[in-house]
């Protein structure tokens, strides 16, 4: 499973989301804000190859608009830093 886990970690890292060690037995992992450590949710390690990056990219607008991610605003800030134009459009769309 380490290859998929590496892929999941790499997909979340630019957004400032840390994939913590095992959340519960075996196959599920806790997502935390890389800045303040708040719990953000969970993910499992049986995603298909390539899926993690696709999912994170698909939800970038939600992070930018503050509909996903930490209340401290870290992921929203990261989304702006990654693609300012897309983030601005997302904020306008979800306002």
């Amino acid at each position: 499973m380490s290859a998929i886990l590496d892929e999941i970690r790499a997909a979340y890292q630019p957004l400032g989301v840390a994939v913590e060690g095992v959340a519960t037995y075996g196959t599920y992992y806790r997502l935390r804000c890389a800045r303040c450590g708040a719990a953000l949710g969970c993910v499992g390690d049986r995603l298909l190859p390539g899926m993690a990056r696709e999912l994170v990219d698909g939800e970038m607008d939600l992070y930018a608009a503050g509909l996903a991610g930490c209340a401290c605003g870290h992921q929203a800030e990261r989304a702006v830093a990654i693609d300012p134009g897309r983030a601005a459009a997302a904020k306008a769309r979800f306002a």
Partner: protein, 282 residues
């Protein structure tokens, strides 16, 4: 709360029963009282009639298919990965639920899934004690998708638990008697879990930003839910049907499921995703 529910609450109170989930739980009762909510999935092809009970000698092919089905089902007390999934449900509720009432409803869900773990554990012990204790992580990616918003959790329950209800509906005529015996309980419970997700989803979609959130997340869960029925051309399907372990093929049950969920999603004001978008198992 509707006046009908209040009357029920008073009756429960008179009987000394505790009102559960703020009077909403279980979610299936009101809908089943109006009739069978799920489509007819009875077998339409000629096939031999088999009945196998616990302790019977099972044909090798039959046994293999039954075990395969139960590995996918996964809700067993001896399956540590299932208990792990339940652990994430508690964590998600703690982290993402909007209020204590929602967390309480989720606790009723967990209690009911743990009841299923006992029921399927007993079926597993009756088949193979080694299997009953085996850890079998859920293989399908639908059980591993990230949940980062309350809308993710609502969509997971509405769509993925409903998949369980459709499969349990299919077991009403199962040739494996222990499975047939628990089918109605599991079906209505899983249907109720789906309705719980729909209840949360309705609240989310009542607000414009919430509906936009649900709309953005919908393709991820919709594709996974349709994929969960397996490939339409699976070579195992005719064998499952011939042995009486399934009533209909993957494409037929998927189509019935899609008709059902599409109607409910449209009622929420959501646009339906393209049914081929993001699919891995057509």
């Amino acid at each position: 709360m509707a006046s009908g529910n209040m009357i029920e609450d008073e009756r429960d109170s008179e009987r000394g029963e505790r009102v559960r989930g703020g009077g909403l739980w279980p979610f299936w009762t009101q809908i089943y009282a109006e009739g069978d909510p799920l489509p007819d999935l009875s077998c339409k092809v000629d096939r031999p009639e088999y009945n196998f009970d616990e302790g019977d000698d099972l044909p090798e092919d039959y046994r293999g298919l039954l075990m395969k089905m139960l590995r996918h089902e996964g809700e067993r007390a001896g399956n540590k990965s299932f208990l792990g999934l339940m652990g994430t449900c508690i964590e998600v509720a703690e982290t993402l639920a909007p209020d204590a009432a929602a967390r309480l409803i989720k606790s009723e869900y967990l209690a009911e899934e743990l009841k299923h773990a006992i029921m399927f554990h007993r079926i597993a012990v009756g088949l193979d004690p080694d299997f009953a204790l085996r850890d079998v992580p859920y293989a399908h990616y639908a059980f591993h998708l990230p949940k980062e918003t309350w809308a993710d959790d609502a969509l997971f329950h509405f769509l993925i638990d409903l998949n369980g209800a459709f499969h349990a509906r299919d077991w009403r005529e199962s040739s494996y008697v222990p499975l047939r015996k628990i089918s109605r309980t599991v079906e209505r419970d899983e249907f109720g879990h789906s309705e719980m997700g729909y209840h949360f989803l309705r609240a989310i979609c009542a607000e414009r930003r919430g509906r936009a959130l649900a709309q953005t997340l919908l393709p991820k869960w919709y594709a996974a839910a349709l994929d969960m029925f397996g490939r339409s051309d699976s070579p195992n399907t005719p064998r499952f049907i011939q042995w009486g372990l399934k009533g209909v093929g993957n494409s037929e049950i998927r189509a019935a499921y899609k008709t059902y969920v599409d109607r409910k999603l449209v009622a929420l004001g959501l646009d339906l995703p393209d049914e081929r978008q993001g699919r891995r198992f057509l």
